[in-house]
C-alpha cells in the first residue's frame, strides 16, 4: 500500500488544560471515504479543526501528502489543498452565494474559477438559482450545499466534512450523501467525514473509525463496523448509554 494521503499519529489537542484528543492515530488514503463517528463531545470536530491547525496539536504529527503540516498556520494548510466544510456550516452571512464561492476559490488564484463554479452548480443546482442571494438568508440545506461547494472551489485533494447532515430533513440528507458519493466515485476525491448519523455515514464509507473521549477505540471497513455489536448498540439501535459501552 502506498503512503496514505493524510496520516495522523499520536495527536493530542488541548483546550487550555483540558485534553480533547488523547493521542489519535488515523489515516485517509487516496480515493477513500473515511468516516469518524462518535458521541457528542468525543472530539470529532476538534480532530477536524486540528487537521486544519486551529487549534494546533500539542503533541503528535499530521502528515499530508508526506509533508508535516502539524505546525503550519491554518491558511497555509488550506493552501496545501485541504478544504473543510465545518460544523455549523459557517457561511459568510452577509455575502452572496457567489461571493462565498469566490472566497473558497481564492487559494487557487482564480486560475480555473468558471470551470469550478460550473462544477459546483452542476452538483448543487439550487445554488445557481440563489447565486445573488445573501448566505445568511439560505435554508439550512442550501447553506450546507454552499458550505461543501465553497470547499470544493479550492480544488481540494482532501475534503473534510463535519456533520453535513446535521439538522437537515431526511430528503436533503440523502441528497447531500448522494453528492458526497458522486464526488468520491466520479472524481476519486478523498473525503474525511465526521458524522453522528452513523448508519448513513458507515454505509457510505470505505473505512470507519470510532472516537470515544478523544481516543480511537475501533476501526475497520465501513460495513464491517456497521455490523459490530458495540457500534450498533452505542450509535445505531438505541444509543443513549453509548459512551460507556463502546469503551
Amino acid at each position: 500500500m502506498s503512503a496514505p494521503l493524510l496520516s495522523i499519529r499520536g495527536v493530542k489537542t488541548f483546550y487550555g488544560n483540558i485534553m480533547a484528543l488523547a493521542g489519535v492515530d488515523l489515516d485517509v488514503c487516496e480515493g477513500e471515504i473515511v468516516t469518524l463517528i462518535g458521541a457528542n463531545g468525543a472530539g470529532k470536530s476538534t480532530l477536524m479543526m486540528t487537521i486544519c491547525g486551529t487549534p494546533q496539536a500539542r503533541e503528535g504529527t499530521i502528515l499530508f501528502e508526506g509533508r508535516d503540516i502539524t505546525r503550519l498556520p491554518t491558511h497555509e494548510i488550506i493552501r496545501s489543498h485541504i478544504a473543510q466544510a465545518p460544523e455549523g456550516r459557517r457561511i459568510f452571512p452577509r455575502m452572496t452565494v457567489y461571493e462565498n464561492l469566490q472566497l473558497g476559490a481564492a487559494v487557487t488564484g482564480f486560475a480555473h474559477f468558471d470551470q469550478d463554479l460550473k462544477r459546483v452548480f452542476t452538483l448543487f443546482p439550487t445554488l445557481a438559482e440563489r447565486r445573488e442571494q445573501r448566505g445568511g438568508t439560505l435554508s439550512g440545506g442550501e447553506q450546507q450545499m454552499l458550505s461543501i461547494g465553497r470547499a470544493l472551489m479550492s480544488r481540494p485533494r482532501l475534503l473534510l466534512l463535519d456533520e453535513p447532515s446535521l439538522g437537515l430533513a431526511p430528503l436533503l440528507v440523502q441528497q447531500i450523501f448522494e453528492a458526497i458519493r458522486n464526488l468520491n466515485e466520479r472524481e476519486g476525491l478523498a473525503i474525511f467525514l465526521v458524522e453522528q448519523n452513523a448508519h448513513h455515514a458507515l454505509k457510505l464509507a470505505h473505512r470507519g473509525y470510532v472516537l470515544v473521549n478523544g481516543l480511537i477505540t475501533l476501526e475497520g471497513a465501513g460495513r464491517e463496523l456497521l455490523e459490530r455489536p458495540e457500534v450498533r448498540e452505542a450509535y445505531l439501535d438505541g444509543g443513549r448509554r453509548r459512551t460507556e459501552q463502546a469503551r
Binding site: C52, T54, P73, T74, H75, I78, R79, Q84, P86, G88, R90, F92, P93, R94, M95, E99, Q102, L103, G104, A106, V107, G136, R150, S154
Partner: protein
Amino acid sequence: MDYFLQQLINGIALGSIYGLVAIGYTMVYGIIGMINFAHGDVFMVGAFLALIAFLALVAIGVTAVPLALFLVLLIAMLLTALYGWAVERLAYRPLRGSFRLAPLISAIGMSIVLQNYIQITQGARVKPLPPLITGGYTLLDHGGFAVQLSNIQIIIVFTTFVLMLAFSWLVAATRLGRDMRACEQDLKMASLVGVDVDRTISLTFVIGAALAAVAGIMYLLYYGVIDFFIGFVAGVKAFTAAVLGGIGSLPGAMLGGLLIGLIETFWSAYFSIEYKDVASFSILVLVLIFLPTGILGRPEVEKV
C-alpha cells in the same frame, strides 16, 4: 439663515475629519471586536509627522504649496501606517486569544505610551503651523454677515470624499476587501478558506492609520496648532461617531462623523462653545442607552 449655512459648512468640514478617524475604530472593531483606544493617538502622531514633514520640506526648499501638500500627505500616511502596524504587532497580536479585556487594556497603555512619547520628543507646548492654504469664497453677503467657504474646507471635504470612494471600492471590490469582510463576518472560517488572518488584520490597522494620518493633516491645516493631547479628545469624539453610526459599519462611521461634527459646531454656535465636548459626549451616552447598535449598525442576532 446665513449664520446657519456658515455653521453647516464648518460642521461638515469638522465632521469629515472625525469620519476619517472613526473609520479606523469601526474597521478594527468589525474584525477583531476590540476598541483600539490608541487610534486617536495614532491620529495625533499623524498630525505631528505631517508638521515635521512640512517643516522639513520648507527647509530643503520645497515651497510650492500643492507639491508640498502632496508630499506631506504621502510621507505622513506612510509613516503613520507604520505606526499603526507596529502598534498592532507589539501591543495587540501577542494578546490575541487571550481574555477579551486584555487587548483593551493594552490599547489604553499604548495610547498613554504614544502621548508621552510625543510629549517628550516634541515638547508639551502647542506647535503652530503658519497658514499655508488661505483664501476662499464668499458665498452670500447681504449686510453684516458673509458666508465664507474657505479653500481649506474645500480641500478637507474633497479629500475625504475621494478617500471614502477609494476606500469603499477597496472594501467592496478588491481581494483584500473581500478578505477583510470575510474576517469581519467569521474570523475562523476566513482562515479555513485560506485567508491569512494575521496579515489581513495588520493591513486593517495600516489602512486605518493611513486614514487617520490624513485626518491629522487636515486637522493641522484647519486649526494651525497641534499638541500631544489632541488625539485624546478627537479620538473619543471619533469613537462616539463610530458608535453613533453603528460600530462595525463603514458608512455608519462616516455618517456618525458628519453628525458629530455638525452637532458640535451647532452647539458651539447656538449654545455655548465651552460645553461643546459635553454635547458630543452626551450623545455618546444617549446613543449607548437608547440606540446601542447605532444608526446603521446591525443588531447582534446569532443564527444557529
